[in-house]
Amino acid sequence: MTLQILLNNQATALPEGATVAVALAQLQPRPPFAVAVNTVFVPKGQYESCHLKTGDKLEVISPITGG
């Protein structure tokens, strides 16, 4: 069984019961980064405990130049 999420706007399949930590292991973003699920911030201390479900939108963002 898999669940389908949008990971940085890309359709992504994850194992049923996957957490944010599992999704990040698949994406392997370069640090530093921060995460939000369905526009709600997920602190790094909650990556292992935050379970995902089909349809979730997970955003992983990093520093960029800005004004």
Partner: protein
């Protein structure tokens, strides 16, 4: 009108002292090396940065930019640029706090994507939520007096009214309102957005603004390093003029050289 806010003349924001009154954006420079040199030349109090998905702009994001920020050794002011909804701005601020390890946030909440005019109604609520969550909020806002007062009322210890829409370089389009802000508000005022020339920065500092935040006018100059220096000098000059106090303008001419004893004064043939 020409009160000196701090005896040692440091810019003080949320209790933290800064020796520079220039805040500099990091976007749109020809290269990271030019950005680095512009920062070295202008010695800003803070540099601004933002957050995006990795790979969304490979030239300006990722570990290289992070390494550059660390090398600059200047406090970073993250922004919530691009956010158009209250929850987006709150979440982006929380993500920025974790990434940049700072409670400082330049709160941008855009209400109109053509003019990039702030959503002033939601801005006050967003500022209130973030301040209660421990953030040190610098809100990008319009020059509306009542809006700025409301931002102060919810706990903003400084406000950042625009001079003109972001990236236009038009300079102050509403001098009356900006000068009224200085007369009516006791918190630090940072002019954010719309400055195109060093004289614009000097002008708002002469009116009593405490600092300026700019990006495009430096980054898009043919010589960003020299322009960064020009803005730093102009900002300091305007502040020095405000502290010195200005003469009253008047309609009638007055000779600056005494006429008493002039040898040929009003001599007839």
């Amino acid at each position: 009108m020409n009160a000196t806010p701090h005896s040692d003349d440091a810019l003080v924001l949320y209790g933290q002292r800064f020796q520079s009154r220039l805040l500099l954006g990091t976007s749109r420079y020809p290269s990271p090396a030019v950005l680095e040199a512009a920062v070295a030349r202008s010695k800003p109090a803070m540099v601004t940065a933002s957050l995006r998905r990795q790979g969304s702009n490979a030239a300006e994001t990722g570990s290289d930019f992070w390494a550059l920020l660390k090398r600059l050794n200047v406090p970073v002011l993250p922004n919530t640029a691009g956010c158009m909804r209250l929850q987006e701005a709150i979440t982006t601020a929380q993500m920025a706090r974790e990434v940049f390890e700072t409670p400082w946030i330049k709160l941008e909440l855009i209400g109109d994507d053509y003019t990039l005019q702030p959503d002033t109604l939601n801005l006050v609520e967003a500022a209130s939520i973030l301040i209660k969550d421990g953030f040190q909020v610098l809100p990008y806002c319009t020059e509306d007096l009542v809006l700025c007062q409301r931002l102060v009322d919810v706990g903003c210890q400084a406000v950042m009214p625009w001079a003109a829409p972001i990236g236009t370089g038009r300079g102050p389009v509403n001098p009356y309102a900006m000068q009224t802000l200085r007369e009516r508000l006791d918190v630090p005022l940072i002019c954010d957005a719309g400055l195109g020339l060093p004289s614009h920065a000097c002008q708002v500092m002469e009116w009593g603004f405490d600092a300026v935040l700019l990006n495009t006018a430096v980054a898009l100059s043919p010589d960003p390093i020299a322009m960064a220096g020009a803005f730093a000098d102009a900002t300091a000059a305007g502040h020095a003029a405000y502290r010195a106090g200005t003469m009253q303008a008047q309609d009638m001419a007055q000779p600056s050289t005494p006429v008493l004893g002039t040898p040929f004064w009003h001599q007839s043939n």
